[in-house]
């Protein structure tokens, strides 16, 4: 379980997160919803260590992640797919995937893990030697998620995976996510502005507004709360 307790993050005078608490249960998808600038991205960056919280703790499976360097948090099994499809455009598809597994496994294991990703996203297999810059938005998102999965993470942090994607591609992605969590113990923290599609796959949902958690409930309850949806989620 990933447990976040009273986490605050400030950028200069701007407080991006203010005492955020959240529990992401093992093997489940937790949706983190809220408007632009609510602090969702900052929350993921705090978990993966890219920003240091000024207060609070982040604990994963009994290990305190707060204060740990990014590279070590990755080695605890936390994979962060940043917003804007953080594929490295100058590298090929295969190189991007290889990079994802470099720290965690040897050559032969890596080959198997990469082939597994190609099985999950067959389209990527046809583009192995192409530079990531030549991929479409949907393909890049698959590559970014595939690259995170290569290392067999325990926690997957996804930042706006549906951004800029056609609805049908978004639906495919959400299906892949659901299948992944059903088939393994993978814990997913899914940050989305597209609340509707996130709630369709998530078990739990947290709504953040201006850096504070306003609602933390089951995804079904959040989806059913018309007032809340109108007020914070815009649908």
């Amino acid at each position: 379980m990933l447990a976040i307790e009273g986490v605050s993050v400030s950028y200069g005078a701007v407080r991006a997160l203010d005492g955020v608490a959240l529990e992401a249960d093992t093997g489940m998808i937790t949706a983190v919803l809220g408007a632009n600038g609510a602090g969702k991205t900052t929350l993921l960056r705090a978990i993966s260590g890219l920003v240091k919280p000024s207060a609070g703790t982040i604990v994963f499976d009994g290990v305190t992640l707060t204060g740990m360097p990014v590279e070590d948090i990755v080695r605890r099994g936390v994979a962060h797919v940043p917003e804007g499809r953080g594929v490295i455009q100058e590298l090929t598809v295969e190189e991007n995937l290889r990079l994802g597994a470099l720290w965690s496994m040897g050559r032969r294991q890596r080959r198997a893990a990469i082939d597994q990703v190609y099985e999950l996203f067959p389209l990527l297999a046809t583009r192995r030697q192409r530079h990531a810059s030549t991929l479409s938005g949907g393909e890049r998102q698959m590559l970014a998620i595939g690259r995170a999965l290569v290392a067999a993470p325990k926690v997957l942090l996804l930042d706006e995976p549906s951004l800029g994607l056609a609805p049908i591609v978004t639906a495919q992605l959400m299906t892949v996510l659901r299948d992944l969590t059903e088939a393994s113990e993978l814990t997913v923290v899914l940050v989305e502005q597209n609340a509707r599609s996130a709630l369709s796959v998530a078990q739990r949902a947290v709504v953040i507004n201006l850096g504070k958690v306003v609602v933390s409930d089951s995804a079904a309850a959040v989806a059913a709360d018309t007032d809340l949806r109108h007020h914070y989620l815009g649908f």
Partner: protein, 292 residues
């Protein structure tokens, strides 16, 4: 005609040295967007150490290896001690520090070894080879220069393209934050990049030393030429550094041969301006690679 051939051969040999210098600059620029103005001075310092070792009776190849190793350590030290604390500051800050380092290193060399020019012993004969009965302006030492720099280039390409370490280095240069999220220890990669750059710079200095008047300032002009070569090549790739080096070497050699050697730096500057006007991103750069 034979004068033209001689000037051309001289240009190739110089160009290879500029290419090594350019490669050193590219290594660091690619990873950090910093031009290391101390690159030449760092090579100068290690070459002076080689000079002392040779004077104590150490063999050329032993001194050669030790010097490159010292270059490696010096590069790593400069990154860890001087550059690391400036991370996240405006890019101009580390650039200014490299200029300061240039002055400090030249001062140190001047006070330890003296500011007067002297001769540095070459590894091979510097008399021209004979083709048939005519002597050409290309010696055994020039062959060594071309060979050594080609080995450096091939090794660099093999490192970048063919190894996991090279993949880590490229990822860290292109997208440091993403690389960290994939478990790459970008800080260590950066240290290694500075170390390897200093090895390339030391090699360039070792190759220049016998052909020039050897004083603490002997790399100043070579830094300018190496910088010209790096910018022409696009500040981005080993191949670019090699081609940029050859273009600069030939250009400078023709200017020196036909117009007089005092015009050489001016020639390099003119070359730089022409290339930047025609192709501002350099010849081999990725289009988005650079803001000048």
């Amino acid at each position: 005609m034979s004068f033209f051939v001689d000037v051309t051969l001289n240009g190739v040999s110089n160009g290879m040295i500029f290419a090594a210098m350019a490669l050193a600059l590219v290594f660091i620029y690619r990873a950090t967007n910093i031009i290391n103005f101390a690159q030449g001075a760092m090579g100068m310092l290690t070459t002076f150490i080689a000079f002392s070792l040779l004077n104590r009776g150490l063999g050329y190849w032993e001194a050669f290896a030790v010097t490159l190793a010292i270059g490696f350590v010096l590069g790593a030290l400069v990154e860890r001690v001087l550059m690391r604390p400036l991370q996240g500051k405006p890019e101009l800050n580390p650039v200014i520090v490299t200029i300061g380092l240039l002055i400090v290193l030249e001062g140190i060399a001047g006070s330890v070894w003296g500011n007067n020019a002297r001769g540095f012993p070459p590894a091979f004969s510097q008399t021209g080879l004979k083709v048939g009965h005519t002597k050409i302006a290309f010696s055994h030492f020039d062959v060594f220069i071309v060979g050594a720099v080609l080995v450096l280039m091939v090794a660099t390409l093999a490192l970048f393209r063919g190894t996991n370490l090279g993949l880590r280095m490229r990822a860290s240069a292109f997208a440091p934050e993403v690389a960290r999220l994939l478990g790459v220890r970008v800080g260590r990669i950066l240290t290694l990049g500075w170390a390897l750059a200093a090895v390339a710079g030391s090699l360039a200095a070792l190759l220049v030393a016998p052909t020039t008047s050897f004083s603490p300032y002997f790399m100043d002009l070579n830094l300018v030429f190496g910088f010209t070569a790096a910018v022409i090549g696009g500040l981005d790739s080993p191949v670019g550094a090699l081609v940029g080096g050859l273009i600069t070497g030939l250009g400078v050699s023709y200017v020196g041969g036909y117009l007089g050697s005092s015009l050489q730096p001016l020639g390099a500057l003119a070359l730089l301006m022409v290339v930047l006007m025609a192709r501002p991103q350099g010849i081999f750069a990725r289009p988005e690679a650079r803001r000048v």
